[in-house]
């Protein structure tokens, strides 16, 4: 997946250099969508989902201390 994201951004840059503007924008859009999907997939945890309980835990500890 990462390889496809990199290939898409490189293709967008090359197509724009060659003057193929519409194809470049299409490739860039595909790259943006794939990169966003890959980002969410990378940070998703089966245990926590998209939450960050280690930060919440720290806040709870502060609240308990206060």
């Amino acid at each position: 997946m990462m390889l496809i994201v990199f290939a898409a951004i490189t293709l967008a840059l090359v197509l724009d250099y060659l003057g193929l503007r519409r194809l470049a924008i299409a490739s860039l859009s595909a790259c943006f969508v794939l990169a966003t999907v890959l980002f969410v997939w990378e940070v998703y945890s089966p245990e926590y989902g998209l939450r960050m309980p280690w930060l919440q835990g720290a806040l709870e500890a502060i609240a308990k201390g206060a």
């Binding site: 390889l3 490189t10 090359v14 943006f32």
Partner: protein
């Protein structure tokens, strides 16, 4: 020079503003290229294999360059600026999330790689993204819109145009090297920082 500018309907002030705008764009590509080259030196010379989120930050940096290079190649357009800002926001999201992942050290989650001036890559990426978005906001607040750029293309400033052309080509070469590098590191599978998949 002034007379010919007035004949073309552009004032000296517009020309100065256009020059400053193009100088800003050239500086953006120059700085982003320098950051990408530094990351690649850390990877190839010091063996610091990039994590998946680090690679996605590189993609966002290339996306930022796309909008700026397009302004040089096909003339100024707010669409290009929009693309640059979209990728700057993507960079900020990815970098902020990675910073929050590693900010509270626990097994398997600590900043990887060498700190530069005491800050690790994701923290630098947050600063870079905020600087790009903030600088553009400041430019709009102080200088207003970029209307003068539609009348005055970068060809009006030959030396700046020359630098922009070379920086644009540099970004394309960097993207090609990074794509080849990702192919060796990850193949078509998930990326890891343990080693290069195709070299094992």
């Amino acid at each position: 020079m002034l007379a010919s500018d007035e004949l073309l309907g552009t004032s000296r002030k517009d020309r100065a503003l256009a020059f400053l705008n193009y100088l800003y764009f050239v500086a953006v590509i120059g700085v982003v290229s320098a950051i990408l080259i530094t990351a690649m030196v850390m990877q190839y010379a010091f063996g610091e294999i990039p994590c998946p989120l680090c690679l996605l930050q590189r993609v966002a940096l290339f996306g930022i360059c796309f909008g700026v290079i397009a302004n040089f190649r096909s003339g100024f357009s707010y669409r290009n600026t929009g693309l640059t800002l979209l990728f700057a926001v993507l960079l900020l999201l990815i970098a902020a999330r990675q910073t929050l992942l590693d900010i509270y050290p626990r097994p398997g989650h600590e900043y990887i790689g060498t700190a530069v001036l005491g800050l690790h890559m994701p923290v630098w990426s947050v600063i870079i993204a905020v600087t790009i978005i903030g600088a553009y906001a400041l430019k709009l607040a102080v200088l207003g819109g970029d209307e003068e750029l539609t009348d005055i293309r970068i060809e009006a400033f030959p030396s700046l145009g020359h630098i922009a052309r070379w920086l644009g080509l540099t970004v394309i070469v960097l993207a090609l090297i990074n794509t080849a590098s990702v192919a060796v590191q990850c193949g078509f599978a998930q990326c890891h920082t343990m080693g290069y998949q195709l070299l094992q």
